[in-house]
Amino acid sequence: MNIFQGNIRNIVGGVSNPFRSVIGNWSLFTMLLKRDLVNRTSGTVLGKIWPLAQPALQILGYWFVFGVIFSVRAEGRGENFLEYLLTGMVPWLCVAEVLSRSTTMFREFSPLYRRNPFPLEILPLLIMAIPCLVYGAAYFFLNLFMGGLDKALLSLIVMPLFMLWLLPLCLLFSVLGLFLKDFTQAVPFLLMITLFLTPILYFPSMLPEGIKQFIWINPFSDLMALVHGILQDTEFSWMNLVRPFLIWLLLLGPAWLFYKRSIPHIREVL
């Protein structure tokens, strides 16, 4: 019973503490956020175009390879592959950026907490905020163009929900990335494999029958099914919602506990 209560407390703490810390340090948070945004474009010729141009170019590359060269088509469903690709790929790029950066988060911000007390709890939300804003804005206009205002408004909830779901992974990746250098090295590969194992670059219907049932082991498959279901009116089941939610619940408590226990180590290890 105590373990159960402790886990509930950690789950609540995992969500509430980072947000509470951000609210309590709002001016600090916005200052760092602004700087993060400026850093993305400073010193470049195209300046503010880059935050949108970068994902657009990546998507163009994937579309060219999978849509043009491999000629991926939905068989008998009449879906537009480019629209399908864009709907899944933009949130994925956001996810990949957040997870990748979380592994180097503590090293990146070490000058801020090495010699002074600094609220380390704000960092996970800080590194999520910029991709969420940048990709969220691009996603809104993309869906406005592809599906109209209704879909565009619905798309606004996609990035924040993705980020909330990523919170436990971000907490874990940030600590593991600091203490285990091998983990940081492995993350790009893990992200690439996850991308290929998630129905983003292909339709789930294209998979062989024997494999189809296994794609749901990957929670990102469920999340993508939900995203496509909401924004492209494709079929999805409640299990697509229940499975990732359960995984999130199971991960969040231990991830927060892990993060909390790591804080004294983080302050001293650098």
Partner: protein, 414 residues
């Protein structure tokens, strides 16, 4: 309303050493210890009163920096209770929590925000911070482009302008070069006079003794002694001398901002003719019987020793003071004389140089080798501008058979 600014009850701190970083991760996951302890502080009990200036001394590795980090909440203690009553500003290892990509101005606001200040609060002191730091247009450039001096000046300016009730300074009383060093020193003296609590860690025993009301000597993470500066520093200095005899060479010059007993002093020629804004030693002449030299043979109770120090007076600062010390080969000061202590006001000579002349008539030192040290200090005799260690070497011969270091004036009563 308590009169205690800082209270430590049984505070201990150990650092964790892991053979493999994976052990650290396993420990965080399981809660089962897998580390080797490196003890930095052991059961520290200490109270610092409001308005008190506490010096923290000790050898490298004694736990001084750890104590200050624990107090400034940069690291957590392993056990014990810490109570801090008032806003703290800390200058640890001469640094600040600067974001390297942010401009100086942004970092001012960032530092304030970390301290819980609002934008309005920081707006009110921003111009003062900027004026004090003297970094001009660099304030609009990223701090990663700053020189180390500019970085430190901005850090110091922020730390001392956010109106802390408690100021923690690790390793340097006065930071930066020349004029800024003096200015930062004055700023800290203002803090002291304003009745703020200061924790001051330094290897410069002279500055600790002058500035502090009380001194705590840390050794191997424990409080070895705490008390009046003169008592603690005397015992500490004796111990240090026995542990590591002096190894400096003749004419070693030390600038005020590097005045540390453990530092490796840069060896530079004593004689200097460069024009500087900060008071600086130009020349030291040591004369015995019309003979000016760096090495003298003198006869005890017969020879007169005359020392002339010429110094550049600097700009915009009161005329400096001079102190001269005679020490033995082990570095122990045998005797010293200071123009401030003797209430002597130095003068500028016709060449525009500051000049100090002192005579030790019929030098009463007994047989042995001695060294002459010279220090150029501020008008109050506290802030060190420059020191020349072993400016001259004195070989004393004697006619009699007395033993010891000095022949005290005495008379036989029967």
């Amino acid at each position: 309303m308590t009169d205690i600014a800082i209270s430590l009850q049984g505070v201990s701190k150990y650092y964790k050493y892991y053979e493999k970083e994976l052990d650290r991760v396993k420990e965080i996951m399981s809660g089962k210890p897998r580390f080797q302890k490196i003890e930095a502080l052991k059961n520290i009990n200490l109270e610092v009163g409001k308005g008190e200036v506490l010096g923290v001394i000790g050898r490298n590795g004694a736990g001084k920096s750890t104590l200050l980090k624990v107090l400034s909440d940069t690291i957590l203690p392993s056990s014990g209770e810490i109570s801090v009553n008032g806003r703290i500003a800390a200058l640890l290892e001469l640094g600040a929590s600067f974001h390297p990509d942010m401009t100086g101005k942004e970092n001012v606001y960032l530092s304030g925000a970390i301290k819980g200040m609002t934008k309005k609060d920081i707006d009110a002191i921003y111009e003062e911070i900027l004026a004090f730091a003297e970094i001009g247009e660099f304030i609009s450039r990223p701090v990663k482009t700053y020189s180390s001096g500019m970085f430190v000046r901005l850090a110091f300016s922020i730390a001392t302008h956010i109106d802390p009730e408690i100021l923690i300074i690790d390793e340097a009383l006065s930071v930066g070069d020349g004029a800024f060093s003096r200015k930062s020193f004055d700023r800290i003296m203002d803090f002291k006079e304003a009745g703020k609590t200061i924790l001051f860690c330094s290897h410069s025993m002279y500055q600790v003794e002058v500035l502090c009301d009380r001194v705590v000597w840390l050794e191997k993470g424990e409080v070895r002694k705490i008390g009046k500066p003169v008592d603690v520093i005397t015992e500490y200095s004796n111990k240090m001398r026995m542990a590591s005899p002096r190894k400096e060479s003749l004419g070693t010059t030390i600038k005020g901002d590097e005045s540390s007993e453990n530092h490796e002093a840069a060896e530079t020629p004593v004689k200097s003719t460069s024009v500087k804004a900060v008071p600086h030693i130009l020349d030291i002449q040591v004369k015995v019987e019309s003979n000016i030299s760096k090495v003298h043979k003198v006869v005890s109770e017969v020879s007169d020793l005359e020392v002339t120090v010429l110094f550049g007076p600097g700009e915009g600062v009161p005329l400096a003071s001079i102190a001269v010390a005679l020490s033995g080969g082990d570095g122990r000061i045998i005797s010293s004389a200071g123009s401030v202590q003797d209430a002597i006001t130095l003068k500028i000579n016709e060449s525009g140089q500051g000049e100090a002349r002192i005579l030790f008539p019929k030098l009463p030192l007994l047989r042995g080798n001695y060294f002459l040290d010279v220090a150029l200090l501020c008008e109050k005799g506290i802030h060190l501008y420059e020191a020349v260690r072993q400016a001259a070497e004195i070989h004393v011969e004697q006619n009699g058979l007395e033993r010891g270091i000095v022949k005290l004036p005495h008379e036989w009563l029967s």
